[in-house]
Amino acid sequence: MKSVILVSLIIFISIPAHAFTLSNSGRVNLPGPEVAIVVASNTCSVAGFNSAQELADMVQESVDAYWNRIPTCALELTVEGVNSSIDTSSDGLLEALTKTPIGKILVGCSDDADLFDSSSTLGVGSINTASGDRGAFLLNNRSTVFANQSQQEKLAVIAHELGHAFGLGHSGDPTALMYYAIGGKVQENLSIDDYDACSYLYPHDSPGGCSAVPVMPPGPRSGLKSFKKQSGNKTFAESNSSISLMILTLMMTLFFGCLWREYKARNLLS
């Protein structure tokens, strides 16, 4: 039977590569998991958008397709709309960051020659690495490189730059959305590496996410069949297993710990 277990494990286990990184200033993340995205008002016609609202709609589609779909990550991105007072048409990334409202992410496009000196660069994004209070990304509006991408690739590029804007660096895993290049691959889903990256920076915390796990002493050495006969027996009997008592104590500690977490979370929410 041991060999069956071993063979089963070998068959079913695969070894995915994990390699996400953080920004080039270490762990910096936005203040809250609920982050609003504002879109600059300048039109990104070279990048293929007829209006700023069209870009805003694509950004919303992108976050819904990628970052908002991770159960273990608390990050929740929402497009607030177009901000008519913000124009990024010739900005570098630092200029864009200074125009970004605190706690938010700014999305825009630019034809800045220093920023997009390579015609293959689709976009550039970053979090404010000094304080982590805001993030921004700009699409290449100097050449038609972004406009020439497929719809799926455009969504992936926007999600990739948003990843930089909320604190992620590149990944060494070619499967990941945060890999440095998008050419030659299909990116319809996030990889486990992307899931872990987002979960590391913005861990999910369920307010009532606890359950009790009391463990009882071991019983007869038989299979499931015995329970059909035993389920009607209601006589109380004490445990005579010290190991079982230790496990029970551990589980009850976890149980009451969970209850305490839930109590604290509810008090904080109310």
Partner: protein
């Protein structure tokens, strides 16, 4: 309060309980995650999983109480980070036949990601940049809804397939992980 009632009920009927251990594989969010550049998904990418649990009969018709503690050991990149998932399950089982249990319940999944820090140089556009790696631990807590089935294959051994539904009230983030285990009755 309902947890206390369940706990007390479990203690009262503990004399019929049975301890179990299991070995198997766990797939986190399989069909929702990508495993290679062609876009195929991690449907069968199992990570090793071990668990201890009990079966406790209840006074309710054909219902069993099946609390469980499970650990999933994810693979680790050489210069990356480590990840571990711990599942606290509060499941019940309905005896469909003498050899088959339908499992249902709730649980808590703790996903812990930690790293030892350091930097790595990676491509960035047409040049390279230095990026930082995780240097501390971070734990996500999730409530799960669990559904599964367990069938006895030979005496003292059974096979179990179980699904763990995360973020059930969030239509975008609702995802399922699943496991396949070989269970041994101690």
């Amino acid at each position: 309060m309902r947890f206390l009632i369940i706990l007390m009920t479990a203690i009262l009927f503990s004399h019929n309980s049975m301890a179990l251990v299991s070995l198997g594989g766990y797939v986190p969010f399989g069909p929702s995650t990508q495993k290679d550049v062609t876009g195929s998904t991690n449907t069968f990418s199992f990570s090793p999983m071990v668990s201890v649990n009990t079966i406790i009969p209840t006074p309710f018709y054909q219902q069993l109480f099946l609390p469980e503690l499970a650990m999933v050991f994810h693979s680790e990149d050489q210069d990356g980070y480590s990840k571990r998932t711990t599942l606290f399950l509060l499941d019940f089982g309905h005896l469909l036949t003498s050899d088959l249990i339908f499992r249902y319940g709730v649980g808590t999944a703790l996903t812990r990601i930690s790293g030892e820090g350091g930097t790595v140089v990676l491509n960035n556009g047409s040049s390279t940049s230095t990026y930082y790696q995780p240097d501390e631990s971070s734990t996500s807590w999730n409530t799960t809804i669990n559904l599964g089935i367990e069938g006895q294959v030979i005496p003292n051994y059974s096979m179990r397939f179980q699904t763990y539904w995360f973020s059930v009230f969030n239509s975008e983030a609702r995802k399922a992980s699943y496991s396949l285990n070989l269970v041994y009755y101690l």
